[in-house]
């Protein structure tokens, strides 16, 4: 029996040292800006866009030397679009990596989950992508948003369809996730308020790839406009199937359709689709032009609006750090909150008292496989 005890003690010491020692990890020297989002699995494209935008911003800040003697470092955590992992990941950024600010996440469900962590720890967080209005409505004063909310988007889309294009029979096809369900509710509310409730509303689940039954039902109701509230991959499939079915409708949509991959996948069928963007590469304003050029040089492709928004988020944090230094997160938070008329790539940014930065978006139409001003 003594043998057993000895065995046990040896195994325990070995095991425990392996497990516990990291718990005594020392503080890092660089100043960390955390990035959390999906880098793998289904919405990886948005997460990577966000990361690239932040990386470019951090590089620029470091090169410009505006923060004397401080080197900003980006630490990326993959939350796989899973709220549980998002919470753990944010904890890691805040307590392990000692991030002084966090940028993320992408999916609103993840942001809603992980912003509790930064709130508890007193670290400012900016989301450059999450679009659910709920994010800023939870009374959390540490969260800010540089993205456009679905409420604004829904309004823009419905107004474009009903007023500017004169379409009266709206159909909606949405993805059955928090993104799609909330967005569709807003569209239905607004269009009903304007006197033209949608003639058909259908949904599909994440991962579905065949939409023939939904499209058949929609076709039956004879719509003249189709609002696709979905992520880019299903949207591309739907757009193709719409063309195949010979359904003659004007397609409009929010975020999911603004990803260049959507255009690539849907091919010809995507021509004519209308979306709204806060940033367009054709813009000739000097600071936007220089951003587009720098991004193209570094990553070899044209930036998209998530790149732009993430870049803006970093720049706002950088400006705050310049003003109040890196020591006190609550001062950093206040500096961010007081940002007024910040000249961002995605528009003029001012945060209101709940952390929202509402601004205008430009109507864009897809022509010949490119996003062009409408």
């Amino acid at each position: 029996m003594k043998g057993k005890v000895i065995c046990l003690v040896i195994v325990l010491t070995l095991g425990l040292s392996l497990i516990i020692l990291p718990g005594f990890a020392m503080d890092k020297k660089d100043i960390v800006i955390g990035v959390i989002g999906p880098m793998t699995l289904s919405d990886a494209a948005s997460g990577i866009s966000m990361r690239d935008g932040v990386e470019l911003g951090i590089d620029e800040i470091n090169k410009s030397g505006k923060l004397a003697g401080i080197n900003l470092k980006m630490v990326v955590v993959d939350d796989e679009g899973n709220p549980t992992k998002s919470i753990s990941g944010n904890r890691r950024l805040v307590y392990n990596e000692k991030a002084i600010a966090v940028i993320g996440s992408v999916a609103s469900s993840c942001t809603l989950a992980n912003m509790q962590v930064t709130q508890e720890a007193g670290i400012p967080q900016i989301t450059p992508v999450s679009s659910s209005p709920a994010v800023t409505q939870k009374g959390n004063k540490w969260i800010f948003r540089v993205a456009i909310t679905d409420a604004t988007r829904a309004k823009n889309i419905v107004e474009m369809a009903l007023e500017k294009l004169g379409k009266k029979r709206l159909a909606i096809l949405y993805i059955s996730s928090d993104y799609g369900i909330d967005g569709t509710k807003m569209v239905v509310d607004i269009s009903t308020q304007m006197g033209y409730p949608p003639v058909a509303v259908e949904s599909f689940n994440e991962g579905d790839r065949d939409f023939s039954s939904q499209l058949l039902k929609i076709k039956e109701k004879n719509p003249d406009a189709l609002i696709l509230w979905s992520l880019y991959e299903p949207a591309a499939l739907i757009t193709k199937q719409v063309a195949q079915m010979g359904l003659d409708v004007q397609i409009l949509g929010p975020g999911g359709l603004t990803n260049p991959i959507y255009v690539e996948l849907a091919g010809e069928a995507a021509n004519g689709v209308i979306v709204f963007l806060s940033y367009h590469p054709s813009s000739k304003e000097p600071h936007i032009l220089s951003f587009t050029e720098k991004f193209k040089e570094k990553y070899g492709r044209i930036p998209d609006h998530y790149n732009a928004q993430a870049y803006d988020a970093v720049m706002i944090i950088g400006a705050a750090l310049e003003k109040v230094g890196v020591d006190d997160p609550s001062k950093i938070r206040d500096a961010i909150a007081s940002a007024k008329n910040f000249k961002g790539i995605s528009g003029i940014i001012s945060f209101d008292d709940i952390g929202e930065s509402t601004r205008e978006e430009m109507p864009i139409q897809i022509r010949n496989g490119k996003y062009e001003l409408f």
């Binding site: 259908e202 790839r209 065949d210 023939s212 039954s213 058949l216 195949q244 079915m245």
Partner: protein, 298 residues
């Protein structure tokens, strides 16, 4: 009218599901093991096919041959390296091993080809033509024909060739087969190879319709699985029938109950079939063993 249209589109989707389920059901038939990595093998088939198409842009046929063969090869390697040792162990262990493999494959695909989906060049025209007032896309019709032909080819193989009979013997009683001189190891590898080739074909055919991406494997695998189980795990005609059935049920439930619950209803259906007819729906119709080439043993 819309009912009819939903059925037709259900058949179309169903033919794809049938194709997906073939390789999967074959592995179960001969080894009584579930291969969770089958979906990823199909996705890999799509990617590898794309590589070949880019190398030989003028000769599509060559890609269609080389692509599936490569996947067959990969399947044999996987079987030899990892699954051979588990053939005698509990089915659960193989399931976990194949789940691990599916993760490995899907991440490998993401690392090699990036996280973004890729579209496929259309080898058959995408322009629909009308048939009895319903629009049919040549691509889908082609898939339908391919599924049926493959099924017939496979059935003939198993019923009439010596090798086919050896494989059937293997699935019925491994030890007796060994006694009769059938080399178990080699033949199991052969089964995995054939399954891999089928996965490769399925992958290349579904890619133009569904796009190919590193994350599509789970979806494909799940559909393959449900199609096979509903029709009868281990039965080739069963899987084909199951695929069509699944497609039609999905479309009808989406069309007439609610599109939101489409997946939920197919899950429910799966559970019901498992509860009341675990050998699959086809077993109700075909009591005679003629069409079911594998006698089921629990």
């Amino acid at each position: 009218m819309i009912f009819f249209e939903q059925i037709i589109s259900g058949l179309v989707t169903g033919s794809i599901y049938s194709l997906l389920g073939l390789g999967f059901t074959m592995i179960y038939a001969c080894t009584k093991r579930i291969n969770f990595a089958h979906g990823e093998l199909m996705a890999l088939g799509g990617f590898v096919g794309l590589v070949f198409i880019e190398i030989f842009p003028s000769c599509l046929f060559l890609s269609f041959v080389l692509g599936p063969l490569t996947i067959g090869l990969i399947a044999i390697i996987i079987e030899r390296l990892f699954l051979r040792r588990l053939q005698e162990a509990q089915p659960l262990k193989i399931v976990i091993a194949t789940i691990g493999l599916s993760v490995v494959l899907s991440v490998a695909m993401q690392i090699i080809w990036g996280p973004y989906p890729k579209s496929y060049p259309n080898f058959i025209s995408e322009k629909p033509f009308s048939f009895i007032g319903v629009k049919i896309i040549p691509q889908n019709l082609f898939i339908f024909l391919i599924s049926i032909s493959l099924m017939i080819v496979l059935q003939c193989f198993f019923l009439y060739t010596k090798k086919g009979r050896a494989l059937r013997a293997l699935s019925q009683d491994r030890y007796a087969a060994r006694l009769m001189g059938i080399k178990v190891g080699q033949n199991i590898s052969l089964i995995y190879c054939i399954s891999g080739i089928l996965a490769g074909i399925a992958g290349m055919f579904m890619a133009p319709i569904y796009f190919v991406s590193s994350s599509i494997g789970t979806f494909l695998g799940l559909k393959a699985f449900i199609a096979a189980v509903i029709g009868g795990l281990g039965s080739v005609p069963g899987t084909i029938a199951g695929g069509f059935f699944l497609g039609i049920v999905e479309n009808l439930s989406s069309g007439f109950i609610s599109s939101k619950y489409k997946s939920g209803i197919s899950m429910l259906f799966l559970v019901l079939v498992l509860l009341f007819s675990p050998k699959g729906l086809l077993s109700i119709f075909h009591k005679v063993n003629l069409l079911k080439w594998r006698k089921s043993k629990k």
